[in-house]
Amino acid sequence: MLVTILTLALTGVLWGGVYLLMASGLNLIYGVMKIVNLAHGDFIVVGGLLTLTLFELHVNPLAALPAAALVMFAVGALIQRGILERLVTAGPAGELRTLLATFGMSYVVSNVGLLLWGAQVQSVPFLEGSVDAFGIRLPENLLVCSAVAFAFAIAVHIWLTRTMSGKAVRATSQSAVGAAACGLSIRRIRVLTFGLGCAMAGAAGSLTITLIPFQNSSGGPLTVQAFTVIALGGLGNYVGAFLAAVILGVAEVTTSFVFGSNAAAAVVYILFILILVFRPQGLLGRSARV
């Protein structure tokens, strides 16, 4: 019994790492640009499918990760430069416009995925064994992926808080006008941010496809999953997101074990709605949002 509980808890925590990486890109983009990128999940899927293609060319998924991240960075930067930059986000209908634009984009991305990779469910076999310690059995690939995901998310966090370019991004997220007054090129920072957010999605996809299979249409639920993490953690709150990712991971794994997979599929959404309604400021947030 204890072993089962520990196994569930650890598995949940490990999944939390993957969720954290999925959510971090979304969080970053929201923080800087106040855009909720509804195509985020689809970028994750494309990152995974890129990894699949590289894997079929005999590239190790971990080696494919930087490549997928780089490609997604380019895609994201181009989208920001070419499309989103032209979007009028100011005014009362601004949020509506960004949501509609990214909503449309999510269909474009997932269906381009369909054209390139087909509709079938695909996965990448990678480290299929397991590690056994004190009777607790954890899949090797989950351990590795989780570690990489945590490392990636933390690296970006350090970049944001410790380096000049990262600080420029954070400054922009706090006040675009102020940052512009300090001589920062807001446009460049937005391109960088959107690109980086997409790169994190791509990296998350690379890891996730070794854990669970993808098909071109898997993006929508992933977007909600990622959004749940940042809503739970408080928008733009990176420490909160870490905690939230782990909570979500544990909740999902436990629900699946106790109530079956049907309930686990719903638990993300239920958790999401409960948080939004009863704790709209997130776990660690203080002020109510307007």
Binding site: T11, V121, Q122, P125, E128, G129, S130, L142, S261, A265
Partner: protein, 391 residues
């Protein structure tokens, strides 16, 4: 206001144009056979095999002079893997394209969706619906052109029983085909004195099977059997491996039959059992020629979906040729009256339209190849049992 009016006029014109476009030019010198294909969406991969089976069969008929001296023309549209779209399409095929014969779309679900309207139009349709429910006599013009779901894994259970399997863990997706299949598995297992020690259904969207297999491992079954499609079969194998489950046998309905199964799973696919309705090595009538022709035309190996659709179209044209007309009532009667040899084996219908002839075979992945291992008279290899453990 004038612009507003013009806008509306333009819309009317567009509407009229669209409607005009849909009225086809009738070419009386062909026999039209209509069906929908899931070119896009979740069912695309098997459905395209389906279409290619139809195309190959039509080619062959045309190469042999066609039907009543007329060429066969296939009319097909994309149903996007959605039943409602398929319903609208069969509506179109029947009322607008006025096809002479209809074939079934892919998947039990879409077939059962279009069954009522096809039957109401009094058109004979070979249906790829494996569930017996639609064939209760209420749709006399629709007949089953596939094997019945509940019996689909009977040979598998038979094999397991002979090798001394006692306890079974049953996992299945809560969609139509696997759900019906699961009840068949339970019946068969009971018949053979096996005990179901674990049973759980999961939704189609499930991707992480870790927690489920954690529970399975606690029951330590001899046989892990899954009413699955490809993705979930892969997920279950992967989770079973990482839980280091020690079952004697792992068997899945759909999944191992697909070539992607081994590609996606690598060594974990070894020694997994699967089901199929057809195998390239079968010595059924015309099978070798079918495999050869399919490879030549499409540059890939056929799978059992292609064999099923190929056989179904052949059945229809053979029946039409035999009765000498496209009279649907006559075609129906002819098909019901006899046993017909197909590439899948003997085809036979019950009075209500259930297919009771050919049934399934057991395959196993060995050294990255599918071997037919059961029943022995058709086998191309010897089964590996018990499962030697994960490498």
């Amino acid at each position: 206001m004038i612009t507003g009016f013009r806008r509306n006029t333009a819309l009317i014109a567009l509407l009229a144009l669209t409607l005009a476009q849909t009225t086809p030019v009738r070419a009386a010198d062909t026999i039209k056979i209509g069906f929908s294909v899931s070119e896009t969406g979740a069912l695309a991969a098997p459905s395209i095999f389906d279409r290619q089976g139809y195309e190959l069969a039509a080619d062959e008929v045309n190469a042999h002079g066609g039907l009543f001296g007329k060429k066969i023309e296939l009319v097909h549209y994309d149903d996007q893997s959605t039943p409602s779209t398929a319903v609208a399409l069969y509506q179109k095929l029947i009322t607008d394209d006025k096809v002479d014969l209809v074939m079934g779309p892919y998947s039990s679900q879409i077939n059962s969706a279009v069954t009522p309207i096809v039957d109401r139009a009094k058109l004979v349709m070979p249906s790829m619906d494996a569930n017996p429910t639609a064939f209760d006599g209420s749709h006399p013009f629709v007949f089953q052109a596939i094997a019945q779901t509940p019996q689909y894994m009977a040979p598998m259970i038979d094999f397991a029983a002979r090798r001394g399997v006692k306890t079974v863990a049953l996992l299945y997706q809560n969609s139509p085909f696997p759900t019906a299949l699961a009840s068949g598995i339970k019946d068969e297992a009971q018949k053979h004195g096996m005990k179901i020690v674990f049973e759980e259904a999961y939704p189609p969207a499930t991707t992480d099977f870790g927690p489920l297999l954690l529970k399975v491992a606690a029951t330590n079954p001899d046989l892990l059997i899954g009413g699955t499609f490809l993705a979930d079969a892969e997920g279950i194998v992967r989770a079973a491996k990482s839980q280091n489950l020690h079952a004697k046998m792992y068997a899945f309905s759909v999944g191992p039959v697909e070539p992607e199964f081994s590609r996606a799973l690598g060594p974990a696919a070894e020694n997994i059992f699967g089901n199929t309705l057809w195998f390239p090595s079968l010595s059924t009538k015309g099978n070798a020629e079918f495999v050869k022709a399919f490879r030549a035309k499409f540059n890939r190996d056929p799978d059992y979906h292609a064999a099923l659709s190929y056989a179904a179209l052949k059945l229809m044209t053979t029946a039409a040729a035999a009765v000498g007309s496209l009279d649907q009532e006559k075609i129906r009667t002819w098909l019901h009256g006899r046993t017909i040899d197909t590439v899948l084996g003997p085809f036979k219908l019950s009075p209500t339209g259930l297919q009771t002839g050919f049934s399934s075979y057991v395959i196993q992945w060995q050294k990255e190849k599918q071997l037919l291992v059961w029943p022995p008279q058709s086998a191309t290899g010897t089964p590996v049992f018990p499962h030697p453990g994960w490498q």
